[in-house]
């Protein structure tokens, strides 16, 4: 089986993709609340289950330096057919390995005022979903406020996110992955330091 050379995909592509999608949907509909990702590891770690679920030849992918390897390119090409782009402004999805810097939000595709959906979703692996500086979230999907403390966000995250929020309805959406779980931060969420 050729697929072996590129790393395994989903064991049950239909069921697995549905389960991963529902976790992502719940994550974005309830910002800040971690959702369990099915335990599927790939050439890209847990990020790979999101890659397999959401990308195909209609999407362009940006890979952070640690992910930009022959093995990952082979995995993406074989299993999804997505094109890999060097410029995050051309990416439908930007995947970021743990320890790698997130692309500056302003350098990603922010969509247009008329088509704000044509924007980049950043999927970033964190060191952990807790233990970092406490952030307070407000907005759609959140009753009053919600606190998160992921470890691995850039030092200027809150300032960058504020600029991103001010562009609404344009802007990037963010998925943070660690410990087999995913947190969603849609562009509609307001974030301040606690």
């Amino acid at each position: 089986m050729l697929s072996h050379d590129f790393g395994a995909g989903f064991a049950d592509p239909v069921r697995d993709a549905q389960a991963v999608f529902r976790a992502i949907l719940d994550a974005l509909a309830n910002p800040g609340t971690p959702q369990n990702l099915p335990a599927i590891d790939t050439e890209m770690g847990r990020l790979g289950s999101i890659t397999l679920t959401l990308t195909d030849h209609d999407t362009a992918i940006w890979l952070s330096p640690a992910l930009d390897t022959e093995a990952v390119r082979g995995f993406v090409g074989f299993h999804t057919g997505a094109s890999i782009v060097a410029d995050p402004a051309k990416a439908t999805f930007a995947f970021v390995a743990r320890g790698d810097a997130l692309p500056d939000f302003a350098r990603c595709n922010l969509g247009t005022q008329e088509y704000p959906d044509r924007s980049t979703t950043i999927v970033a692996e964190m060191s952990a979903l807790s233990g970092g500086p406490t952030l307070v979230l407000r907005g759609p999907g959140i009753r009053d406020t919600h606190e998160i403390s992921p470890m691995g966000l850039p030092g200027d995250f809150v300032a960058q996110w504020r600029e991103n929020r001010e562009l609404f309805p344009r802007g990037v959406d963010l998925l943070l992955v660690a410990e087999g779980r995913v947190i969603g931060l849609p562009r509609s969420t307001r974030i301040v330091e606690a």
Binding site: Q18, L28, A29, D56, T59, P116, D117, R143
Partner: protein
């Protein structure tokens, strides 16, 4: 409803599901904004809510429990057919009880029972564009949404007041989502608009013929458009449900005979049945007991 002999899980192929899933995620991230998607042919006519069916098909999994309502009822041809379709192509459990459902696909109504966290309400939408009757050109309505130019919508509502002394719109009454996008709640009665406001459930809207998906996440502000001197009001019914005695619910008029005899009963059949099972009785039930 043929041509489903050799079907994929939930009918749609995986590539189509991915495309629709991406659109749903953008819709959730931009509450009230209409995300374009490439609608697929479904084995049912457009009038049957193919947009809602495609959304449901893209989110549903083996652990879901599906309820389908049409005008508040679980037993109409449309609701029964869609429920049977998913029971067959996705092997999911179905229910008529709002409380048991994880996904509720609807045309026209929001259940009377308060929806809970974790439930998803999927609306079948015929016309997603609230500005359509003011401006037929899609390029123009898109610009109006982009620039938040909603003045014409207020003019139209105010013309209602000038003509009728009140806002006459009773169905598909426009709302503003999270203070930004004006959205069509689909052909639900305005009675249901307040239920959308800060609902605990996720609300997804699919318009098949018009190729649009939009969403309202839980705990999101959904405010019906109105004026200070003419505030938004829901319909009020003079009498309770004739079967279960419920007040403060949406009622349908049912014709009893050809001499003008009629009664008003809950439009939400599940709500009415649960109340009667719990011992609540309306005027008609009392008459029967007395006879």
């Amino acid at each position: 409803m043929n041509a489903v002999a050799n079907y994929n899980f939930a009918y749609l192929d995986e590539q189509t599901k991915r495309m629709i899933r991406r659109a749903i995620l953008k819709a959730v991230a931009i509450p009230g904004y209409q995300v374009p998607f490439s609608s697929r042919e479904m084995p049912m006519p457009y009038g049957w809510g193919t947009g809602g069916v495609q959304v449901t098909a893209s989110i549903i999994g083996p652990d879901d429990v599906l309820k389908v309502i049409d005008q508040g009822a679980d037993d109409t041809t449309n609701a029964v057919s869609i429920r049977a379709f998913f029971a067959k192509v996705a092997q999911v459990a179905t229910t008529t009880h709002t409380a048991e459902a994880t996904i509720i696909q609807t045309r026209h109504r929001i259940p009377e029972r308060k929806l809970e966290a974790g439930q998803i309400l999927v609306y079948q939408v015929p016309i997603p564009e609230p500005l359509r009757f003011l401006e037929p050109r899609e390029t123009e309505t898109r610009k109006m949404h982009a620039l938040e130019e909603y003045g014409l919508m207020h003019v139209k509502l105010y013309e209602d007041i000038a003509r009728h002394g009140r806002i006459a719109t009773t169905y598909a009454y426009p709302v503003k989502v999270e203070g930004r996008y004006v959205m069509d709640p689909s052909p639900t009665p305005k009675f249901d608009n307040p239920k959308m406001h800060r609902s605990e459930a996720l609300q997804l809207f699919g318009a098949g013929r018009e190729h649009r998906i939009y969403a309202v996440p839980p705990h999101t502000d959904v405010v019906s458009l109105d004026f200070e001197d003419h505030p938004f009001e829901i319909q009020h019914f003079e009498q309770p449900c004739a079967l279960c005695g419920a007040e403060g619910v949406y009622l349908d008029e049912v014709i009893l005979d050809d001499r003008g005899g009629h009664m008003y009963v809950c439009s939400d059949t599940d709500h009415c049945e649960e109340r009667r099972d719990a011992g609540f009785v309306g005027v008609l039930g009392m008459q029967e007991a007395a006879e």
